[in-house]
């Protein structure tokens, strides 16, 4: 295995550890928004699809690329919108009510 390939394994392992530690702290209250948020974030694969669709390397690459761009963009746009829609519903008790 090449040196850069091994470096990428490092990145993966460290990111998985950071992800585990960060996500473990998300309360069950927000597990649904968590799932839609990670789904939106992993739609970063749109980056790979964009290169495929735009680098003019033959018709097959362009067609598969454009479908991949569309599929990933659905998750980018829809994922962040729906996460925000859910998160804005979570409100604390009104202060007056809590004071009683």
């Amino acid at each position: 295995m090449s040196a850069s390939g091994f470096l990428e394994l490092f990145v993966f392992a460290l990111a998985a550890c950071v992800g585990y530690q960060v996500i473990r702290r998300v309360p069950a209250l927000l597990h649904t928004p968590l799932m839609s948020a990670t789904n939106a974030i992993s739609a970063i694969s749109v980056v790979g699809s964009l290169v495929l669709a735009g680098s003019d390397r033959g018709l097959l690459a362009s067609i598969l690329g454009v479908i991949a761009v569309a599929a990933a963009t659905i998750n980018v746009v829809g994922g962040f919108l729906i996460t925000d829609r859910m998160l804005k519903m979570f409100k604390r008790s009104a202060p007056s009510e809590a004071a009683r």
């Binding site: 992800g19 649904t32 839609s36 789904n39 003019d56 859910m86 409100k91």
Partner: protein
């Protein structure tokens, strides 16, 4: 050179913003701002990519972005919260589809010597994993979507030899992957593996019933993340590796949380064998036991005179669309001087955290929504535990009947409350088909009827009585 540096900086910034965004979900009050930062990170990464020198034409890209945005916007803005599980399932499909297509296209390009990457074994391993996880997530997520949307029956579909069939399919997939890694030029193997993987996704979800969907969705979340990471390895892009690892970790954690809450072992989750129907030993029968039913008026009096009420909502409440009426009842009880809290079992909905979203939508303040571990000791101080559309998650057999199929499952201690009111249509057993001894308990009163109608009647009755008098 400066351009490459700029692109890499955008990726670095995006990675940091993604992690900070997920970090913000630990506190509900900061979550929105954090996710906006993550969205900004996504925008930076996309703009950075569009500046890359490999991109020479924009017509295909614009078409893809336009179609994606046109479909994504309504999926983000107009899907009702009750449909969230199938909405998330279909989004796992889109994510995995993108990864699979990129994997196949990159393989073909490398095979014909087009592009910057060669086709050595390490790269073939990345591409192979990408297509393997991608294809099975596409079909598995579609099956989950179809079951949740009730396009196909939500009941488990089983046949003899199912596990042997799935195992041999899986072994075939892995065998082809290994063969491809040894000899990456055998392109037909990649397509056969993709086909097997696609079939495996369908067969994996087929035997799983509707109530087990939280595990499936979490698992698909994890697989979609791994497919994204594998794409990153294949095209040498660190941000895909990082984002995929975050997604994979989240799906992994949620799978564990869900499997624990459902009393299934972690091994079952990893290998997807959790759909096996548990027949278990002879359940306790209801013969010789009597239930005590209570009238709506008496239940109203009991609730308004209670000092502490803990509500246990179940999926039946959500199906009846009764969350707004439930919130109104809670407010009336509070106006009469009591406190109301909601005990949320991890599998109360059809996906992790679903019940919290449904109640938040009905404007229940989130500080009243309590996790199982936080509220279970509180039941002893509660005057009334109000069970609505929940059954197995309050069945004491999970604690004390070793022959019960749900023995060992963590439950809400409704039976510890001073009194229990159970809203239920009739005496049919719950999803697992097990008798619930809580219903025959001497402190339990059954309030029969449709959850929605009963709640509406309770609210109207309490209003007409005038809550001020009770306070």
């Amino acid at each position: 050179m400066t351009l490459t540096l700029l692109v890499n900086c955008s990726y670095l910034a995006a990675s940091v913003l993604f992690i900070l965004g997920l970090r913000s979900l630990a506190v509900p009050d900061h979550a929105r701002r954090g996710m906006n930062q993550a969205a900004l990170g996504m925008l930076l990464a996309i703009v950075g990519t569009l500046m890359k020198h490999e991109i020479v034409r924009y017509d295909w890209i614009i078409a893809g972005l336009a179609v994606g945005a046109a479909i994504g916007y309504p999926l983000g803005m107009y899907v009702p919260m009750t449909a969230m599980p199938q909405r998330i399932a279909i989004s796992h499909l889109f994510g995995a589809l993108a990864a699979t297509l990129v994997g196949i296209a990159e393989y073909q390009l490398s095979l014909h010597g087009i592009g910057e990457h060669g086709l050595n074994s390490a790269r073939m391993a990345a591409l192979g994993f990408e297509v393997l996880f991608g294809a099975l997530t596409v079909s598995g997520s579609f099956m989950a979507f179809a079951k949740l949307q009730e396009l196909v029956s939500g009941r488990p579909i089983t046949y003899p030899g199912q596990n042997a069939m799935n195992l041999s399919l899986f072994a075939g997939m892995v065998g082809l992957l290994v063969w491809l890694i040894i000899d990456p030029t055998q392109s037909v193997l990649l397509y056969v593996m993709a086909g097997l993987s696609f079939s495996f996704g369908i067969l994996l979800v087929l035997p799983i019933g509707g109530a087990d969907m939280p595990v499936v969705i979490s698992l698909m979340n994890s697989y979609a993340g791994l497919a994204c990471s594998a794409t990153g390895f294949a095209i040498g892009n660190e941000i895909l590796i990082i984002a995929g690892a975050l997604d994979g970790a989240s799906g992994f954690i949620l799978s564990i949380v869900m499997s624990k809450a459902m009393n299934r072992s972690f091994r079952n989750v990893l290998f997807g064998a959790f759909g096996t129907v548990q027949t278990g030993g002879p359940a306790k029968t209801s013969e010789g036991l009597t239930v005590r039913s209570v009238s709506m008026e008496d239940a109203a009096l009991q609730l308004t005179s209670a000092r502490k009420v803990i509500v246990i909502p179940g999926y039946g409440m959500a199906v009846a669309q009764a969350q707004h009426d439930l919130r109104e009842l809670g407010e009336l009880i509070e106006r009469a001087g009591g406190t109301v809290e909601y005990a949320i079992h991890p599998v109360a909905g059809r996906m992790p955290g679903h019940m919290n979203v449904l109640l938040a939508e009905a404007k229940v303040p989130y500080d009243k929504l309590k996790d199982m571990d936080d509220i279970n000791d509180e039941f002893a101080n509660a005057d009334v535990a109000l069970v609505i559309g929940a059954n197995d998650v309050v069945n004491p057999a999970a604690r004390n009947d070793q022959s019960s199929p749900i023995y060992g499952m963590p439950i809400l201690n409704a039976d510890h409350a001073r009194s229990v009111i159970v809203m239920k249509r009739g005496m049919n057993p719950g999803f697992a088909g097990i008798e619930n001894e809580l219903f025959y308990h001497q402190r339990t009163a059954m309030l029969f009827g449709d959850a929605k109608n009963t709640l509406v009647a309770l609210v109207q009755h309490i209003k007409s009585q005038g809550v001020a008098a009770a306070a």
